[in-house]
Structures are given as C-alpha cells and as structure tokens.
Symmetry: D2
C-alpha cells in the first residue's frame, strides 16, 4: 500500500516469555509492542532522548484500542507501522502490526491494528498543552484518514 | 449506584513490579487486571474450572478498549466491576475499575473503564459458536445498556 | 513443621497471564511472587507504608537465587513462607513456596525455595546502613539456620 | 578480555515497561533478558528452531542465580555474554551482562552476572538425558572455569 511508504516502521522479535498457555502471545503484551514502536518513533523524531531520562515521561496514555486479527507465536518477527497527529491538546497514534511469514517469499500478514490516545505531561506529571517543540514535530507528520479503515 | 448491585466485583492489590518509572501502574497491566476479573467471573459462573486446565482457553480476545481516567499507585486496592452479554457469536464484557481511597471514609474513585470482545474457542483453538452450556450461562447475566455511559 | 509456625506466610493465586507456552508458570514470575511476599512482610512489620510511597524503595536487590522443584499451573494457590535476618549491612531473606494440592485433603507440596539478598537505600537510592528503626525490626525476627536445608 | 572472544553475545534495548517506580529496570526482568540470550544462543546453535514450535520447550529451568552490580535504566543497551556446558544430565549457563555507556568512548560496565541450571525435556515435558544431537552441540562449546570469578 502506498501509505505504508511514509509510515514509521519498527520490528520486534516475539520472546518465549511473551507467550501464554494457549501457545500464543498474551494479548496484554500487544500494548507493550505498540509502546516500543511509539517510543522508537519518539526517539527518531527527537521527542524522547535517552540521555534525558525525564523525557521518557512526556506522553501519558489516555486510551487504548487494540484489535486482534491473527495470533502471534514464539519467534515471530513483528513489524509495526504507525502514524500520528495532534488533535487539539491530544496526540493520536494509529498502528498496524504485521507478522512476517516464515516462508519469506509469502510476505507478511496483518495480525493486529490499534489506536492510542495521549496527552503531554509537564512538571509533576500534570497534563498540559504540548510544548511548541512537540507541536512543530507533530505538525510535520503525515496523516492518512483512511489508513486504518479496518478499525 | 444501583447498577453496581448486580455487577460482579473483583479486587486486586497493586504490586511493586506493576509500576513504571513514572511512579504509576504501567498501562499495559490494566489488561491483566481486567483479565483477572474476567477469569474470576468465569470461575464463579462455572465456565472455567481450575481442575480442567483446557477450560482456561475457552475465550479468545478479539478486541480491547481501555480508558484511563486516574492513575493507579503501588499498594492501591483496585475493585473491578463487570457485566457481560452474548452478541451473536461474540461475548462482550464491560468493566469499571475503582481505586479505594486511602482515607477509607472518602470511598472510591473511578480510575478506568474498559470493553473487551471475545469469541469462544473449540478444539485446536478454533473460533466457534458458544456451547449450549456457555450460552445458558450468558443469557442469565444482567446487562445494563447505560452502565458504561462514559465510554 | 515446627519452624513454619514462626514463619511469615503469604498467598498468591496463579493468573492466566503468568503462564507460558509450556503450560506452566514462567520462571521469571517466581521473583515477582517472592517480592509480593517480601513486601507483604515489610508492610506487616511497618517497614513499608502504602501511604508513604517513598518507603517502597527502601530495599534494593543485590542477589537472587531460586530453585524450581515442581512446576506451577494456572489457578494454583501458592503459599510462600519466609524468614529474614540482618547480616552486617545486608538483609537476607529465605523463602519456601508451596502449592496447595487441589484435593484439599492431600495438603501441599514444596514447589520452589529461594534466597534474596538486599541492602537498605537512603536518599537518592544510595545504599546505606539500615536505619535504627529497620535494625530494631530485623533483630526481633526469628532465624532458623537449617530452615532451608535443601537449598 | 580474551575469554570474551569465544563467548556468545546478545543485545537487548531496555524498554519503558521494563522499569519500576525506582526508575530502574525491575530485577524480575533480568531473568527475561538472560532467557533472551539463552534462546538466541540455542537458535544460533540449531537447538531451537522457530519453525518447530515444540523445540522451544526443550530446556526446563532448575535453578537461577542473579547478581546485581549496577542498575539498568530506560533506553540502555545491554549486551549479554554467555558460556554453557553439560554437567552430567544437567546443562549449565553462565552470563555476564554489560551496559553500554552513553558516552560511547567510555566503553561498557558490568551490571549483572548470573548462572542458570537446566535439564532437557522429552515428550510430555518430562526431564530426560539430553538427546545425542544436543550432547554433541554442548560438547563443542568452550567453557572457562574462571570466566565468572566474581560469582
């Protein structure tokens, strides 16, 4: 899909400890994978800086919505694409999670889609309007209204 | 609230390892707390039986939606209420999560609400129409359309 | 066993999300269960106070040692006993973890034993000699040299 | 150190959800990082194969021992080295965990060392003597008695 070209992309290898007794990845771990992708995006854009630890706390989670289309298994390589936009004082992410098929030729399959909603935090972890610096970064992001049609 | 009387209720004490560097419970853990409540409900209704291990795998997660209203802290006692209904072949849960205020007199505050959507699994973890036994249990549950208005 | 009478005791119900694809509790979760018991002990003795959040950070982990004797399963009720003593500036815990057998009459079986070693933390999370208050509490604890012979 | 040259090496980036309210990586997560390294080694040697899911269950954990020398923080790049040997019917791993210092020039610091003890599992997850194929792989590994002197 053409929209994928602009989307930020992140990979995660499914670990043994992320599975449950059904033999698949426990659904609670998907929010961790989506967080990994979101943090990687924020690092890439300069919103979070590993050398300034307090920068890790700049985005609080207001709401999450995850759809499960296909299960994930131990050892799977998961690729997450995301897009992000500013909505008033809120920051909205949309995600697609693909599982790389083990037969490399066959490509990938969509396993999960998600939305998360955030608000910027200031001193004392209080919600606040995003700083000018964050707003400028978010306004440069591309957003495609129909990217996550299935959700 | 009157609707609370019929709702199934479950308690969880927030553990040290459930917090993150912001000093609050990591948002990914809420799905674990809601799962604890859902499993406790299923045990109480006889849908899951600890002596039949395969019964633990009778409900797959199709979708989750969690709203965060107030943060949770180490040591908090969380109380979750839920209601459940059959929607075609799908099973829908709604939840309210309260935090007991440390000054006991002051009662509790609503911290999070959620919805999860499930499907019954048969042999080989394949989705299937709920068994007659499960359907009968679900049809006896009370459902209040306006219970989760805020979501 | 006579030594059990003095030991502090804590219970945990094994959750679905604590299992892995082998159908048993993932070994990494045992340190969480032992921490739950240690924190419950510290609360009971007044070393940690849920109303003073900074008290949760009074003990750093220096070393852990866990032995696995029998697996744990979804729904198991786990009972942990512990003893603790001051060793110079270090604080040493020993633990026994029992699994309650589903046929109540048959009692319980020992599933795991463990040792953890800690140091008190002061301001800025720096290791320090335990405060007089902590020392007094620890010196009142009973310690049985042979309690954990199997370790 | 010369011994490091032969050691298998694995990297992990510390995630936000792996921290706790003390602002550091929760000690329970170290066993997950060591497992990641152990599994990566087993994949590399052909003992585990992502396409044969049952191969993931070939090693049960009998005992773990973790020493904590320095804390780990959000965003840290952790490098784990390990060595492994067959001891009778048991399989023994030793690990060193280094934290890459943010000022690249200053190199790395040792944060944790560990030992884990395992047994091979056969059908029905029963302990068994390692298969000839596993024994041959383990006998080709290098083991340095003094590699982990500090433990």
């Amino acid at each position: 899909m053409p929209s994928s070209k602009q989307a930020f992309s992140y990979e995660h290898r499914v670990q043994f400890y992320e599975t449950d007794l059904m033999g698949i990845v426990h659904h609670g771990n998907y929010l961790r994978f989506y967080e990994e992708a979101r943090v990687a995006w924020a690092i890439h854009r300069g919103l979070i800086n590993y050398q300034q630890k307090e920068s890790a706390s700049r985005l609080a989670v207001l709401e999450t919505n995850v759809k499960h289309l296909k299960p994930l298994f131990f050892g799977d390589i998961v690729r997450i694409e995301l897009q992000v936009r500013l909505q008033g004082v809120r920051i909205e992410f949309e995600y697609k999670m693909y599982r790389q098929l083990s037969n490399k030729d066959s490509g990938q399959e969509l396993c999960s889609v998600a939305k998360t909603l955030h608000v910027a935090l200031g001193e004392n972890l209080r919600p606040r309007r995003p700083l000018q610096e964050m707003t400028e970064i978010l306004e440069r992001e591309q957003w495609n209204e129909t990217w996550l049609l299935s959700l």
